[in-house]
Assembly symmetry: C2
Amino acid sequence: MYKLLKAKLENSTNATQIAAAEIISLFKPISAKRNEVLLSPEETCKYYFFIEKGSLRLFTTNTEGKESSRYFAFEGSFCTALPSFIDQKPAMEYLQAIETCKLLAINRTDFFKMVEKHSFFAGIYQEILESGFIMAQKRIYSFQGFDALEKVKWLIQYQPNVLLRVSNKMAASYLGISPSTLSRIKAKL
Amino acid sequence: MYKLLKAKLENSTNATQIAAAEIISLFKPISAKRNEVLLSPEETCKYYFFIEKGSLRLFTTNTEGKESSRYFAFEGSFCTALPSFIDQKPAMEYLQAIETCKLLAINRTDFFKMVEKHSFFAGIYQEILESGFIMAQKRIYSFQGFDALEKVKWLIQYQPNVLLRVSNKMAASYLGISPSTLSRIKAKL
DNA sequence: TAAATTTATTGACATAGCGCAACGTTTCGT
DNA sequence: ACGAAACGTTGCGCTATGTCAATAAATTTA
C-alpha cells in the first residue's frame, strides 16, 4: 500500500529509516474512483497527494465551460493544487482522478512540519518545485510558435503516458488544441 | 548600490542583520548595457542575479531564428536561467539585459551554501520557486484557449510593466503572437 | 547631426485550425 | 446485459491570425 512512497522517501539521499517512517505515518490512504473530483475551484486544498496507483489531473473550466488541463500525474508522483495548498486560498481549479486511484494524503500542517523538521524531505519538496518549474517553462517554450502537429510530437517525446492513458479530449485540452484537430493529427501519425 | 537587495533580505522574516550582511557580501556588482547578452544557450549558468536597476529577459530562438521570450524581470527581482543554474547543464536559452542594468551576482556554490546555512534564505529561495511555478501555471492556463486579444488584456492586468518597458517584438514573442497582431490589438485599445 | 539600422504600423492575402454536425464506438448506470 | 450518455472521428465552411511587403518612426553609430 505504501510501497512507492516508501521507495521514494528511502531512496532519497540523507533519509533515515526513522525519519521516513515518521513521514509515511502521516499519510492516510484514500481511494478515488475514475472521474471522481477530489477538489473543486471554490475549495481550498488541504492535502498533498501521493499516487500509489492510478492517475490524477488538474484542470480549469472557462466561462463557456470549456476545459483546460494543466497537469497529469501518474503512480509514483506527488500531486496537489499547489497554489491553493501553499496560500490556502480557493483552488480555482479541479483536481480529478482520471483512473481508479489508490492515493496517500498528507495534510498541509503535517507536510510543512516535515519539511521543516527533516532536511531531506525539504530537499524532496525543493526538487518537486524545481522540476515543476522547469517542466512548466519547457511547456511554455514548446507551445510558443509550435503548430498542432509539433505540439503532439512534443507530447509523444516528453510525456508519452499522456497520450496512452488519457482521453483525447483531455490530451487536446492539455495541448490547447481541439479534440478534432488532435484526432486528425493522430490519424496521420 | 545594494539598496534593493538589502531591503529584500532584511524584510524577510527570521532574517538577522548579520546573516543578511554575510549573504550580501557574496554578491558582486556587475554592469550590463542595453541588449547585452549575459548568457548564451551553449553556456552553463554560473550566477544568480539580483536586479538593482534595469531589466532582464530570458529567451530562446528556434531553428528559423524566431525568438520566444520566457520571462522578464525588473528591479528588485532575482533572475537566472534556473534549469541550467540548478543542474549545471547548457542553458539552452539566452539571458539578456534589455535596459542598462546594475546587477548583483552570486555564484552557484555560494548561493546554495547560503541556502543551506540560513533557513530564512532557503525560505526566500522556496518563495522564488513557488511563485515562479505558480506564475508559469497561470500563464499556461491563461494562454490555453485565449485568443490574442485576451492574452494582451491578461498581460495588461498581471504584468503591466512588460507592455510599458519592453519592445513590441519582445512582448509579442512572450505572448506567442506576431508583432503585427500585437500592434493591431494595441491600436484598438 | 546625419546616415544606417532596427522596429512599429498597416494593408492585402493565405491558411491552420475551430465550431458545428453527423455518425460510429466506447463507457457507464441500473 | 441493455439503453443512455459521453467520446472519437471525419467533412465542411469560416474566421482569427500568420506571412509578406511597404512605409513611417525610432534608435544606434559614426
